[in-house]
């Protein structure tokens, strides 16, 4: 009953993902509190925030790997926490996810990694499968690297192979978890270009989780800034960059002190030094 009601309310074709009043805690520590956020179809949406502010948790909620304590997570009109395992897997076949490390299967070559979802979910004839895989590898510019093992790929190449794998099932959306972390400037540029191009050419909805302000804002249509489990600000990249709010400015400009304090909470320094007792 509830799901049909919520579908009627949420079945808004402009938004692919709707997260409404979601609360999520690990043990007693709240990660997300009363978060509401929507991801429009066909756009690149960025979720930014400091380390440990719950960005990746948002992706895990959308992908159904975590369940919210309260609130709704709707993807393409389906309530993710209410899906049974079969329906969830059916939904995941329409989602791609790029992990921070790439998460390539280390015992398979680049070609076999990209072929993996096809081999698991389809019964394509070998010749056709080869065509599809080579096309996807060509999209990320790594057709020539098909026989390399993951250990032989550089960080940027591994992420591109993982991206080819993420799009091999022709998903409706791709989630990028920190796609720029640990890459050199050239690889960053390549990944940024790919995110934008795949989004526009294939009509995919993209969600990018990152703390890399410059690289991410350059390719995004809309941005959310998270902090302390809430949304601090949202808007177009320009609007966020021109924001005068102290917490937004601290993040955008990378200021060491501000609303997010430089020092970890502790008792008075003098008292601590001259206590002389236990550490």
């Amino acid at each position: 009953m509830t799901s049909s009601v919520s579908q009627a309310v949420f079945n808004d074709s402009t938004n692919l993902v709707e997260i409404r009043d979601v609360h999520f805690a690990r043990g007693t520590r709240p990660i997300l509190s009363d978060m509401t956020l929507t991801i429009p179809r066909g756009k690149v949406t960025v979720i930014m925030g400091g380390s440990g502010c719950g960005k990746t948790t948002v992706l895990n909620l959308i992908g159904g790997r975590l369940r919210p304590d309260r609130g709704q997570v709707m993807v393409d009109g389906l309530s993710v926490p209410d899906l049974n395992i079969k329906a969830l897997y059916a939904l995941r076949k329409r989602m791609g996810m790029l992990f921070q490390t790439g998460a390539l299967l280390t015992d398979l070559s680049a070609f076999e990694n990209v072929a993996f979802p096809l081999r698991e979910h389809t019964r394509l004839p070998e010749a056709l499968l080869r065509h599809v895989v080579l096309m996807k590898l060509e999209t990320v510019g790594l057709r020539g690297a098909r026989d390399l093992m993951p250990a032989e790929l550089s960080g940027g190449m591994a992420r591109r192979v993982a991206l080819a794998r993420a799009i091999v099932m022709e998903p409706m959306m791709i989630m990028y978890d920190e796609p720029f972390t640990g890459l050199d400037p050239i690889s960053k540029g390549v990944i940024a270009k790919l995110i934008r191009e795949l989004n526009d050419a294939l009509g995919i909805t993209s969600i990018v989780v990152s703390h890399d302000v410059a690289d991410t804002l350059a390719i995004s249509d809309y941005a959310y800034l998270l902090g302390g489990g809430r949304i601090l600000a949202q808007g177009t990249p320009q609007a966020l960059q021109q924001s005068t709010a102290a917490d937004v400015r601290q993040f955008m400009q990378g200021l060491p002190d501000g609303p997010v304090p430089y020092t970890y909470p502790a008792r008075a320094y003098i008292e601590d030094l001259f206590d002389g007792g236990s550490p």
Binding site: R65, K93, M95, F99, L105, P117, E120
Partner: protein, 256 residues
Amino acid sequence: MRAFQYLGGAALDGVERLGRATLFLYEVVSGSWMLVRRFYLVIEQVYAVGVLTLVIILVSGGFVGLVLGLQGYNTLAKFGAADSLGLLVALSLVRELGPVVTALLFAGRAGSALTAEIGLMKATDQLAGMEMMAVNPVTRVIAPRFFAGIVSMPLLAALFSVVGVLSGHMIGVGLLGVDVGAFWSQMQNGVDFYDDILNGVIKSVVFGVVVTGIAVFEGYDAVPTSEGVSRATNRTVVYSSLAVLGLDFIMTALMF
């Protein structure tokens, strides 16, 4: 008071882990129907788990057989029963040493490798990545390894015994001068197919289930950090060795 609290907490943790392991193994077994269609996944793992363990098993079986031959001859010769050397070597191997020593070596070589592999797959997001590709890692990664272990263990134990008997023959007949006819005929008379060989096979199958089960569970349950994987590998070897020795006592008491 503190000690009681600690004891209670440790016991509860243990029971909880045992429960998780049982549910996990249930999931592995119930998800394994897909292996019928994709049996090559099991074959691949039989190579990794079984064939690559072959060297250590064969070499150890050889030395155990040599030592059994020497020690057995010394003792039997005192009673003038050196002709029974073949029987002694064969029974020791088939009933006890074959399954038990193989299981211990298997835990050290294959079990630890399984735990480390699965734990590192978890630490590098490979299992999470599979989940997000709508592939269940329990049926795709764990189940083939589990069944490969169960298939490999009895075969390895059998080979261990074969090599042991042959090297016992080498030392007894070749070096110490036991009569070759007596060696084999005593063995043939004294070793019963059901009582000795089949029970030995049952033991090794049980050890295969236990060792591989512990190994895959510890890997899957590992804390996904380098320290966590190292601890899990450690636990695999300790728990499965203890389980093998304990179960061996129970099964021996019931069987013989």
